[in-house]
């Protein structure tokens, strides 16, 4: 495990943390958003907030594909799953997300819907071959990382002439969401000073994708890996830029991320998908050009075209603060549902569902830390 252990060296981490303490200007507050849920998870797993000065605050962003999917799209999946001919399949975390009236895909499955959990989209292909009399629908979600495998699924189905498979496409785009976060709505200030840029997403889209943020909004972006040393180094780089009044894209994760990303994956996505004019995000509302849909040449694999889907106007829990949490305006524990009644066992909001969701990570890791501090 050398390849991982070197990024978890406690001594080096403490040196880096010490350096951040020296760098941080006591006269100012640094609010750094980790866009990606994988980063949120790592921040808590390694207890990074405890190593940082109080005025360097990590803000958890919307980078969890489960958390940002609006209830309306989930209701559509539930509607599909109720059709007797449909086998609906999706990734595991998606199955637990609460929709309206206490529903979820897991509950629908218990009520008799044929809903399967997949590890890889290509399993949907096997299901379609095994059940030629049924309609297999892949409920596709995720950022740029999970989009290429969905594209492969559609192309493979096309090559094999499989006709009983379709995709309910909910793939979303990171830069568009970052743009939405930095564009304050009326009466509300942008809540962050800089971004810790996503790791896996950036391996696909490349560091150049973030160029508009420093230019247009004056906010630095440092792309970081998922290991604790990666994150601490990225934080130090961000604090350094902010101290120098700079705003650039820097790439801490340089051994995996190139300026142009992965051209093969990008070309594949380009062949199969095109941008939607607008897409609703949980927490961010309608965001222009922020998601993908299946191109007309592959329309026969588009579940939205194959089935007549209604667009139910489902509502989230009225007291749920997930939208403010996703925008970096509130901490999870500032939501009055947090802890009781909203817990990972009984999630009322999407951020409590996925282990990468900000509220679930807070619940899972921070309760212990708070208890420790109280003891001390």
């Amino acid at each position: 495990m050398k390849y991982v252990d070197v990024f978890r060296d406690a001594k080096l981490a403490h040196q880096l943390a010490q350096h951040i303490h020296q760098q941080a200007d006591p006269e100012r507050h640094y609010r750094l958003m980790e866009f990606c849920g994988g980063h949120t998870h790592a921040v808590f797993r390694y207890g990074l907030p405890a190593l940082l000065p109080d005025n360097v605050e990590l803000v958890h962003g919307p980078g969890c594909p489960v958390c940002v999917l609006p209830v309306t799209r989930l209701e559509q999946a539930l509607e599909l799953s109720r059709l007797p001919e449909v086998i609906l399949c999706s990734y595991g975390d998606m199955l637990r997300v609460p929709a309206g009236k206490g529903q979820s895909l897991l509950k629908a499955r218990a009520d008799g819907a044929d809903i399967r959990m997949l590890y890889s989209p290509l399993e949907a292909l096997t299901l379609a071959q095994q059940h030629p009399e049924r309609q297999v629908v892949f409920f596709a979600i995720g950022f740029e990382t999970t989009t290429p495998p969905t594209a492969v699924l559609i192309q493979r189905a096309d090559e094999m002439g499989i006709s009983n498979l379709s995709v309910l496409c909910n793939h979303v785009l990171t830069p568009a969401a970052m743009h939405a976060i930095l564009t304050p709505s009326e009466g509300e200030a942008t809540a962050i000073d800089g971004f810790i840029g996503p790791a896996h997403v950036s391996t696909v889209i490349g560091s150049e994708a973030y160029a508009p943020f420093p230019r247009q909004f004056g906010k630095p972006v440092v792309i970081a890996g998922f290991e604790p040393l990666d994150l601490l180094q990225a934080i130090s780089m961000l604090v350094g830029q902010l101290n120098r009044h700079e705003a650039r894209v820097e790439n801490q994760f340089s051994w995996a991320v190139t300026p142009g990303g992965n051209p093969k994956a990008r070309a594949l996505v380009e062949q199969v998908f095109e941008r939607r004019d607008s897409f609703e995000w949980r927490g961010l509302g309608e965001v222009p050009a922020s998601a993908l849909k299946i191109r007309p040449e592959y329309a026969r694999y588009d579940a939205e075209q194959r089935f007549e889907l209604s667009a139910p106007r489902a509502r989230e829990h009225p007291a749920c603060e997930c939208p403010a949490v996703l925008r970096g305006q509130k901490r999870p524990d500032q939501c009055r549902l947090f802890g009781t009644p909203c817990t990972p066992d009984n999630p009322l909001g999407a951020c409590m569902v996925s282990s990468e969701g900000a509220c679930a990570a807070w619940y899972r890791y921070n309760r212990g830390r708070i208890a420790m501090q109280e003891r001390e």
Binding site: M1, G47, P65, Y91, G92, L118, Y119, G142, T146, Y363
Partner: protein, 341 residues
Amino acid sequence: MSRLDLTNGKVEMAHGGGGRAMAQLISQLFARAFDNEWLAQGNDQAQLSLPAGRLAFASDSHVVSPLFFPGGDIGSLAVHGTLNDLAMCGARPHALSVGFILEEGFPLSELARIVESMAQASREANVPIVTGDTKVVERGKGDGVFINTSGVGIVPEGLDLSGDRARPGDCILLSGSVGDHGACILTQRESLGFAADIRSDSCALHRLTQAMVAQVPQLRCMRDPTRGGLANTLNELAQQSGVGMQLEEAAIPVIQPVQAVCELLGLDPLYLANEGKLVAICPPEQAPELLALMRAHPQGKSAAIIGTVTADPQQFVQLRTRFGGNRLLDWLNSEPLPRIC
């Protein structure tokens, strides 16, 4: 009575119907493989003469997929599972029962493999399978084979191990590396297509536990961290005893291939199932002796003291990470799932 075709035959509804076909399956497969005086009597129950002591009684159902995996199969697992549940209270296992729920169409050759494996596990443990039951469900209503095993054992006089006996200051010991069984099963699932060389740790622990209770009768409790892994087991014990726990991540053994699979899938080995490991809690004075004893036993070679019991009304299980931080090791709130991206 005609011969059962164990090479090409399939389970049929008649094999659970109570007639000639079922009698044929029992006599030519089950009774022959498990072969003991109680089964040979052909009664609907086994009549056992038990030594003095408290009777321990445990039951466990097995629904694992895939049925065969490196290091074991559903048959040996079903034997080990119940033996270990008995062993954790210090009982000497005495006899097992087995209930099969078979799916119509299941190949008899695979059933025979499973039954042979159970028979071998029971012989190795020296605990006979003395009674059983078979039911067949229609094709599509089962997952090949489900197995329930129940068992009885005798707890020696004066021994009292229970999950509510952990006290602040006690030491927490673990018999070996965690996550082997869970990671093995995950890598064997067709869809993941992994080639990791991980074997299940499935084994019977009653010989190890008997050595432990004989030498350290002051033991507070033992438990095998099966589903939910080490993390859930410790949360259970913390809740039962009304205490907290402080663990050292660096002290918890995890073999490298398991660690690698967990890194790739975004899973935590502390939440993965084990089928041949145990956690023991004992007063601190006895911990060095108990550790030495465990390490001298083949099933406890990698045993370690992994933490201590703390006074904590919130009953938190905390983990001091290799990285120097401290984090909560919470209950698992659903099945461990690989991350999406």
